[in-house]
C-alpha cells in the first residue's frame, strides 16, 4: 500500500496541519517534512473521520435495476463515506446468513467502502417470526444491526423478543417506526397541505406512537434500541424524555428531513415522495435542534435509489424514497453548520463517531491520530455546486435536491489508507480490504 501526506488540512475544523498515512494507518499528525509519500494538497479543507452511514439501500440482490453494491458504494465514496450499512429489504430479503454474507463479500470485492449488512428482524420482513438473528451475527458479515426497515416491527411481543434476543451478541434493533393501520394508503404528511391536495395523510402520531411504545419496551427489558429516520417534533420530545430516563435509545435523522418540507408536495412531483414523509417547517426545526443537542444522535441517509419509471409517473403510484449518499454532507453543512447549529467537530460525531459506535464498527469513527486506521474525508466548505443526478455515481436519479446549489463538497475520501476519491472524482478502490 502506498503512503500519502495530506498537507494543510484542518482536522475537525481545527488548525491546519499535515496528516501522514502509511500502510492504511495514520502514522503522524503534525508538520510532515520530506517524505516519499504522495502529497494530497488539502489547503483550506476540513478533515473528518470517514463518514459511516447506518441506513443505506444498496438494492442488491434483487433490484439491480435500481442500484448495485458496486454503484451504491461508489456513490458512498463520492459522498465521503467509508462505511455503509446495507438495509435488509432486498430480494431475497437479508434474513439469513447466506444473503448477508453475499452482500458483505460484494462490498469487499468492490472495495469502495466497508459494507456492513443489516439483517432483517423477521423472516421476509413479514413481521411474523424472528429471522435467525444469531446466525447472521455469527456469519462472516458479523451483523450487529437488525431492521425490518420499510416495515415496522409492529407486533409488540415480537419487538420485545427481538430487543431481548439481540443482547446476546450486542446487537441493536433499528425500528422503522410506523403504525401500519394509521398509515394505510398514506401518501404524505397529514396536515394542511395534504388536506388541500387531497392526498391520504401519514399522521405524525403514527411514528410517535411506535417510538413511545418501543422506548418503554427497551427500558423494560434493558435493551438497546435505535430509531430510524425520526421526522417529527413529537418524536423528538419522546426521545428526549426516554433519554432523560436513562433508556438506551439512539436515533437518526435523514438529510432530507433536515432540509425539506411537505410544501414541496404541492408540485405533485414524486421525487418528493418518501417514507416517512417530508414534514412541516416546525418539524424540520425540531429535528435540527435535536441533532444539535444530541437528542437525535446521528445523521443517516436512507439512500433509496429507484429506477426512473418508479418516479416518472403520477404521485399515487410512485415509489417512496430519495437518494442521499452524495448530497448528505452538503445538506448537513447547509442545515446545521452554516446555520451555526453544529461545529465540524460535532458533524464528525454525528456522521462518523456515533454511527460507528451504534453499528459496532470498531475500526471506524476513530480519532484522527497516529496509530488509527486511515479512514478520512476531506471537505471544502467554501465550494458551491449544483446537484445534477445525471452526473452522480448512484444509479438513482431521484434526488430531491436536484438543481439546488449545494454547500460544501467532498474533495477526497480515504478508505483504509487508499484515496477512493481525489479532487472530487472517483479514484481507486481498495484491492485488499483488511478484515
Amino acid at each position: 500500500m502506498g503512503s500519502y501526506v495530506i498537507k494543510g488540512a484542518r482536522p475537525l475544523g481545527g488548525p491546519a496541519t499535515d496528516i501522514l498515512i502509511e500502510d492504511g494507518l495514520v502514522t503522524q499528525v503534525g508538520p510532515v517534512t520530506a517524505s516519499g509519500a504522495q502529497v494530497i494538497d488539502a489547503d483550506g479543507l476540513i478533515a473528518l473521520p470517514g463518514l459511516v452511514d447506518l441506513h443505506t439501500h444498496l438494492r442488491e440482490p434483487g433490484r439491480e435495476d435500481a442500484e448495485t453494491v458496486e454503484t451504491g458504494t461508489r456513490a458512498a465514496a463520492m459522498g465521503g463515506w467509508t462505511a455503509v450499512h446495507a438495509m435488509a429489504n432486498t430480494d431475497p430479503v437479508a434474513d439469513t446468513a447466506g444473503v448477508v454474507e453475499q452482500v458483505w463479500r460484494l462490498g469487499r470485492e468492490y472495495g469502495w467502502v466497508d459494507v456492513r449488512p443489516v439483517g432483517a428482524v423477521t423472516v421476509g420482513l413479514a413481521g411474523e417470526r424472528l429471522a435467525e438473528l444469531g446466525a447472521m451475527a455469527d456469519s462472516a458479515a458479523g451483523v450487529r444491526v437488525f431492521s425490518d426497515d420499510g416495515h415496522c416491527v409492529w407486533d409488540p411481543v415480537l419487538m420485545r423478543r427481538a430487543l431481548e434476543y439481540v443482547k446476546a451478541f450486542d446487537g441493536v434493533v433499528a425500528q422503522h417506526a410506523q403504525e401500519p393501520r394509521l398509515t394505510e394508503g398514506a401518501q404524505m404528511h397529514e396536515g394542511s397541505v395534504s388536506a388541500e391536495l387531497g392526498l391520504t395523510g401519514w399522521p405524525a402520531v403514527a411514528e410517535e406512537a411506535i417510538i413511545a411504545r418501543d422506548v418503554l419496551l427497551a427500558g423494560h427489558v434493558g435493551s438497546r434500541l435505535h430509531v430510524c429516520h425520526v421526522s417529527t417534533a413529537g418524536s423528538v420530545e419522546i426521545l428526549r424524555w426516554a433519554k432523560g430516563r436513562g433508556i438506551d435509545v439512539t436515533a437518526e435523522v435523514t438529510p432530507h428531513h433536515l432540509l425539506l418540507t411537505d410544501e414541496l408536495v404541492r408540485s405533485y412531483d414524486p421525487v418528493f415522495k418518501v417514507n416517512p414523509p417530508l414534514r412541516t417547517a416546525a418539524d424540520v426545526q425540531a429535528v435540527r435542534e435535536a441533532l444539535a443537542d444530541g437528542t437525535i444522535d446521528i445523521v443517516a441517509t436512507d439512500h433509496a435509489p429507484h429506477p426512473v419509471e418508479a418516479k416518472d409517473c403520477e404521485w399515487g403510484v410512485a415509489s417512496m424514497g430519495m437518494t442521499g449518499l452524495e448530497t448528505a454532507l452538503s445538506i448537513v453543512q447547509e442545515a446545521m453548520v452554516d446555520t451555526g447549529l453544529l461545529t465540524w467537530d460535532q458533524v464528525a460525531d454525528r456522521m462518523s463517531v456515533k454511527p460507528a459506535r451504534i453499528g459496532r464498527v470498531a475500526s471506524q469513527g476513530r480519532p484522527i491520530a497516529a496509530g488509527e486506521p486511515a479512514h478520512l474525508t476531506l471537505v471544502d466548505p467554501t465550494a458551491r455546486w449544483e446537484c445534477d443526478p445525471a452526473t452522480q455515481a448512484t444509479m438513482g436519479r431521484n434526488s430531491p435536491v436536484r438543481g439546488r446549489t449545494m454547500h460544501g463538497r467532498v474533495v477526497a475520501t480515504i478508505y483504509a489508507g487508499r484515496p477512493t476519491v481525489l479532487d472530487g472524482v472517483l479514484n481507486e478502490a481498495l484491492s485488499e480490504v483488511p478484515l
Binding site: E190, S267, D269, E314, G316
Partner: protein, 320 residues
Amino acid sequence: MRHLLSTADLSQAEAIQILDVADQMAATQKREIKKLPTLRGRTVVNLFYEDSTRTRISFEAAAKRLSADVINFSAKGSSVSKGESLKDTALTLKAMGADAVVVRHSVSGAPHRLAHAGWIDGTIVNAGDGTHEHPTQALLDAYTLRQRLVPDAIGADLKGKRVAIVGDVLHSRVARSNVTLLNTLGAEVVLVTPPTLLPVGIDHWPCTTSYDLDDVVNGGHGDLDAVMMLRVQRERMHDAFFPSAREYSRRYGLDARRMNRLPEGALVMHPGPMNRGLEITAEAADSPRSTIVEQVANGVAVRMAVLYLLLSGQAEGKDA
C-alpha cells in the same frame, strides 16, 4: 389560461368571466341549431381513468357543440402497474395532436402531473382527480347558484350568499373545489360533516365548520341560501367513519323535515350521482328547491365556456 387544474388557480375576474361566457353558451343552446363552429379543427381528448359516464358525456357534448373533434380514451382497466403508464399515454396523445386533454383520474394530482411533467403540450382540463379537485363541477355549481340567486347575473359574484356543504368532505373533490371557488366569488361556506369525515389540517380553509346539521339548517351559522349534499359511499362505514348508514342519514341526511326548515328560496344541490335514502331523501331531491337536474344541464354550458376560453387565442397573432 393554459390549463384548468384547480379552482385555486382562478382569480375572481377569471371565474366570473367563465360564468358569463357560460351564460352566453347556454343561450346558444336554446337555438334550433345548437352547434357552433368555434373549435372547428381542434381535437379534444377525453382521457378517463375512472368510470364517470355523466362527466364524460357532458364534456363530450360541450366539445361537439363547439365543433371540436372528440376522441374518447377510456383507460380504465389498463392499470398503470400492468398496462401503459400515464406518461406513455400522454406521449401517444401528443403524437395524435390533442389540443386539449380532459382527464379524469383516481390519483390526486394526476392532471397536474400531465400539465407539468413535459410529456404533452396540450391544454389539460381536470375532470376530477382522486380526492383533490373537480373544478368544472364547482364552476357549474357556482353558475347554478348565481342563476338562481342573483337577479342580474352577468358580471356578478356571489357576495353575501351562504352555502352549506354537507357530508364526506374528506374524500370529496367536489367539496375542495367548491370551498375555494365559492370563497373566490365572495360566498360564505359552512362545512357540515361528522368529525371523522373532516380532513385534518383545514384550520386555514376559508370556511366555518359544524358537526350539527340541524343547527346549521336552523340558521345557527346564518340564513342559508343553498345546501349542497355530497355523495357518501356506504363502504365508508366499514372503515369506521360512521357506525351505520341509518345513523348517518339520521344525523347528516337531508329529508323533508330539515328541508322545510330552510329559509324560503334556499336551494338543494347535489353533484350526483345521488344515494337516495342515504344523504338525501326523494322528497328533498325532487322538490322545487332542488337544482339537481339543472346542474346537469348547466354542466354542458360551463364546460363549453371552459373549452372555449382555454382553446381560443392559444397562439399569439395580430388582430384582424
